[in-house]
């Protein structure tokens, strides 16, 4: 039985964070699983499955100090090889205002849509910010019923595009 943890690291972005962290883990014989690492608003964020034995806080203490990172660890049940391929993509764009994510994802959840991945950015200009969101997920319900679910938001002027994803396997 593999002993998995979800390791979260956050800090101001700078070169060498990934190399520094993964090298420290490798030297202490930790094993890495699936990970998401991305720059958000000038911060670098890491969420990474790691397995092994020992105290992750202690073993990453030095690199955390060097790279000015904050660390958080949660024991998890790590399930590999259980990917769900998304069959629906939702793209949202609109003038940035409160409630966009809540309203879109609320309508989708009620229609039975499960989010597998969501990325959002604040784009546009400083005085004219635009919120752009790209969601990939899985739904048993057909694309039409998801479009119906977000139709009231589209009527309010939000740009919400729901499209099927047909994964080409060859």
């Amino acid at each position: 039985m593999t002993n998995w943890n979800m390791l979260t690291l956050v800090g101001e972005d700078r070169p060498g964070i990934v190399a520094g962290v993964t090298d420290a883990l490798y030297r202490r014989q930790w094993n890495l699983g699936e990970a998401s690492m991305i720059r958000l608003g000038g911060n670098f964020t890491i969420m990474m499955m790691v397995s092994g034995d020992g105290d992750l806080y202690a073993e990453l203490k030095q690199v955390a100090v060097d790279m000015k990172l904050r660390i958080h660890v949660d024991p998890i049940v790590g399930m590999l090889h259980q990917h769900v391929a998304p069959n629906i993509q939702v793209r949202v764009a609109g003038a940035d205002r409160a409630g966009i994510v809540a309203q879109v994802t609320g309508a989708l959840a009620e229609a039975g849509f499960n989010i597998l991945e969501l990325e959002s950015d604040v784009a546009g200009l400083r005085d004219k910010p635009v919120y752009i969101m790209n969601i990939q997920g899985y739904s048993e319900a057909p694309v039409e019923s998801l479009r119906d679910a977000v139709a009231p938001l589209v009527a309010q002027g939000m740009d919400v595009d729901v499209s099927p994803i047909e994964t080409m396997v060859g």
Partner: protein, 177 residues
């Protein structure tokens, strides 16, 4: 007929370049029947290439006539010594592969292609195709050159911006591949 064993990564043989078919004989046609049986045997694949079963010859099979939502297609195609002669447009779409279990990713492919190939009897074929079918053919021909889709995966963020531009440019809403 028999389903053949599929090579999966990190098998180095998947990087091998395949050679042109020169002999169009019963042995070739028998292999193609096995290759098609292999395609149908596993998870729903719309295409397969000979090197995926360890035969390094330029042979692919593509059939996208059975997708969830119908797409333009030429039905079941056996393409021997295929060659793309013209590319147009590009689009990002999600791909998976029999040789890359439990992984899918986004890949940029031409939206329209023209193609020359031979059939299992050595006769010349020409096709013009688009969208999902063109994507499948490009994916399979990559196998003949020792390329996998994971060599071409792009990030979702790339998708977001490029697709948006494409949509606005063409004035199409809700288009998918």
């Amino acid at each position: 007929m028999a389903a053949l064993e599929i090579l999966t990564i990190p098998d180095e043989r998947l990087k091998q370049e395949s050679l042109a078919v020169e002999r169009f004989d019963d042995e070739l046609r028998s292999f193609i029947a096995d290759l098609e049986e292999t395609r149908q045997h596993g998870p729903a694949a719309v295409g397969i290439a000979a090197p995926q079963v360890g035969r390094f010859q330029r042979i692919v099979i593509v059939d996208v006539s059975n997708t969830r939502k119908p797409v333009p297609n030429h039905g079941y195609m056996v393409l021997v010594n295929p060659e793309i002669t013209h590319w147009d447009g590009y689009e990002i779409g999600r791909e998976g592969c029999l040789s890359v279990p439990d992984y899918t990713g986004n890949v940029i492919r031409a939206t329209h292609i023209r193609l020359k190939a031979q059939n299992p009897d050595g006769e010349t074929l020409e096709y013009e195709m688009e969208g999902f079918e063109a994507r499948a053919v490009q994916h399979e021909i990559d196998h003949l050159d020792g390329m996998l889709f994971i060599d071409r995966v792009v990030s979702r963020r790339t998708d977001l911006f490029q697709r948006k531009v494409y949509q606005k440019g063409k004035g199409k809403k809700g288009k998918s591949n």
